[in-house]
Amino acid sequence: MTGLAETMKEKYGIPFIRVSYFGIEDMAKALYDVAGHFKEQPEIMEKARELVRSEVTRIYPELQKIKARVCGKRAAIYVGGAFKAFSLIKALRYLGMEVVLAGSQTGNEKDYEILRDMCNDGTIILDDANPLELSKYIIEKNADLFIGGVKERPIAYKMGIGFCDHNHERKTPLAGFEGMLNFAEEVCQTVTSPVWQFAPHRSP
């Protein structure tokens, strides 16, 4: 997407900003950034503020309930682009979860710098990892949730941990404020599922 935006800027002089629609923080920031671009129309910023306020107020109570249930759970993230990982980390933090592993397939030097800054010292950062490495660290870090692609879902389940996927074919959106609620619900459902107590390494 950034490539397209860059080309449009080059060719037609159309400016662009890089935003993420994922998670409350980034979604709100996206709206403010866009509104901020139209400096001569301050009413846009007004409306953006209004929108963020009403949306957040709407989903806040539900999110708090979910937060109480997932707080302290440990997540591992391995996605295609690093930019997505940034948003996911923020969203999981918002829910009080700890990110114990973060990685991407295509991140560059700069992305990993940001990633390292965002994460705790103990967080494992992986670039272009293979399933063996992922499973090793997920077990080692005792993660409760894995966020990855289609083909990783059964790997997570085999290890007896929750999973949430981020693919292009989903019908339930994860973007926007409503999407954050969907995301939180999905995460909560999977990490708190009673099935994991039957996973061999988890049973007492």
Binding site: P131, L132, K151, K158, G160, P200
Partner: protein
């Protein structure tokens, strides 16, 4: 109505497939390769093919599906993928440590004309294949055949690469199970065990793609035929090949290479199909059929007799793979049902069409058979002559919904239900399960449509 543009009127089409009733060769090759223990399937082509094949298998089985790719770039697409494959072989043996790598090609590498054996020889010469490890291959150009062809080619490769002639014959029987589910392979083994016949089944995806939750991710699950077993296939006293399209090539190759005679049978689906299978096993091994199997058979006959009035005259539309279609059609006809639309996307040949014709000749309706048809045509046939039941893969659900027809999922892929990897269709037990599915579908419909007055409690 997702398929609202499907017209009732059928026009002759010669160069256009709409919603194919098949998928491409490498999927079948990848599936077969997963039925060898410790095998890492490798897709020689670009990443997109591999991602699609892996995703399809992952979603069908809801199990980890491990495979690798040569990840062609523009360069390899023009100059060939030798360098990629050499490096991939090196990486795989270093990082993933498989016992063997099963390379299959894709449209792209076939069009370029990459010579896989030559590249593998080079890898061996360069010391990239550790001692005691193997690289096998099958050519799987997707513009020929379908996933069934790919499965057949990879299964034959197992014979070509491993089967060894021995000084004497062993008491084992080889079973080439055909393109069936892991649950079916498990059931075939159970039947052979019950008869006390030692078998070598290849491929065998049971316990690979239907394994338990263990709390650990295993790159190479417990199941699969082993390399020593594959070697010994050449010393078995006979081979039973199930399903012409998927299994004959391997069985024939084994006969030619090691003089192991083979018998070709339909997939053991339904009463008669299973009888034939057990009878052949009994003959080759010289054993008696154990009471336990006779008992199961009796149970299946019992269910059919209890419920025969519900099967009678029900029209069925089937779409899927040739070997499955033939066996299922015979099964349905034996239940007094009327399979009237039978479509496969796999080019299975005139002989197959003739066999289907023969199988349906007693059916008291017009029977449409289209070998190399697509889902679009299948839907049109159903529109023109509605049926009581549809049988096919997950894509048939759109037709079932639009036409409001009861539907049983069978075949590949099934992305939206579970069961196929755990519960068999073959054998008497599989037959009972399939009967239950048919009855549930038909009776749920009868209940749904019943008026208050004619709602039956006892069925």
């Amino acid at each position: 109505m997702l398929l609202k543009h499907t017209t009732k009127e059928i026009m002759e089409r010669s160069a256009l497939t709409v919603n194919p009733a098949k998928t491409c060769q490498p999927i079948g090759a990848m599936y077969a390769a997963l039925g060898i223990h410790g095998c890492l399937p490798h897709s020689h082509g670009s990443q997109g093919c591999y991602a699609y094949h892996r995703s399809s298998l992952t979603r069908h089985y809801k199990e980890p599906v491990m495979a690798a790719t040569s990840a062609f770039t523009e360069g390899s697409s023009v100059f060939g993928g030798q360098a990629n494959l050499l490096q991939a072989i090196d990486n795989m043996f270093t990082v993933y440590k498989p016992d063997l790598i099963a390379v299959h090609t894709t449209c792209l590498s076939e069009t370029i004309g990459d010579d896989i054996p030559q590249i593998v020889n080079k890898a061996v010469a360069e010391g990239k294949v550790p001692a005691g490890k193997y690289v096998i291959h099958a050519n799987t150009p997707s513009y020929v055949g379908s996933h069934v062809t790919g499965f057949s080619n990879m299964t034959k490769a197992m014979v070509d690469y491993f089967a060894e002639t021995g000084a004497k014959k062993n008491k084992t029987i080889n079973i080439v199970p055909g393109y069936v589910e892991p649950s079916d392979m498990e059931e075939i083994r159970r039947i052979c065990d019950a008869m006390g016949i030692p078998i070598i089944m290849f491929p065998d995806t049971s316990r690979v793609l239907n394994g338990p939750l263990t709390g650990r991710f295993h790159m190479y699950p417990a199941g699969g035929v082993t390399i020593p077993e594959l070697r010994q296939t050449g010393q078995s006293m006979g081979t039973v090949a199930l399903g012409n399209l998927a299994s004959t090539a391997a069985a024939f190759a084994l006969d030619a290479k090691c003089k192991v005679p083979y018998k070709l049978l339909d997939l053991p689906i339904g009463l008669h199909g299973t009888d034939m299978f057990i009878d052949i096993l009994r003959n080759i091994a010289g054993v008696n059929v154990p009471d336990s199997l006779t008992f199961e058979r009796g149970q299946m006959v019992d269910i059919i007799s209890d419920m025969h009035q519900y099967f009678y005259g029900k029209k069925v539309g089937l779409v899927g793979d040739p070997d499955q279609l033939l066996a299922l059609t015979k099964f349905l006809v034996s239940l007094d049902m009327c399979p009237i639309h039978i479509v496969t996307g796999t080019p299975a040949g005139k002989k197959f069409t003739a066999e289907l014709r023969e199988a349906t000749k007693e059916v008291p309706c017009d029977v449409n058979i289209k070998v190399e048809g697509d889902m679009y045509l299948f839907h049109q046939l159903v529109k023109n002559d509605p049926v009581d039941l549809l049988i096919g893969n997950s894509y048939v659900k759109y037709i079932a919904k639009d036409e409001d027809i009861p539907f049983i999922r069978h075949g590949f892929p099934i992305f939206d239900r579970i069961g196929h990897s755990y519960l068999p269709t073959v054998g008497y037990r599989g037959g009972i399960l399939f009967l239950e599915k048919i009855l549930n579908a038909l009776m749920d419909r009868q209940d749904r449509d019943a008026t208050d007055i004619n709602m039956e409690l006892v069925m």
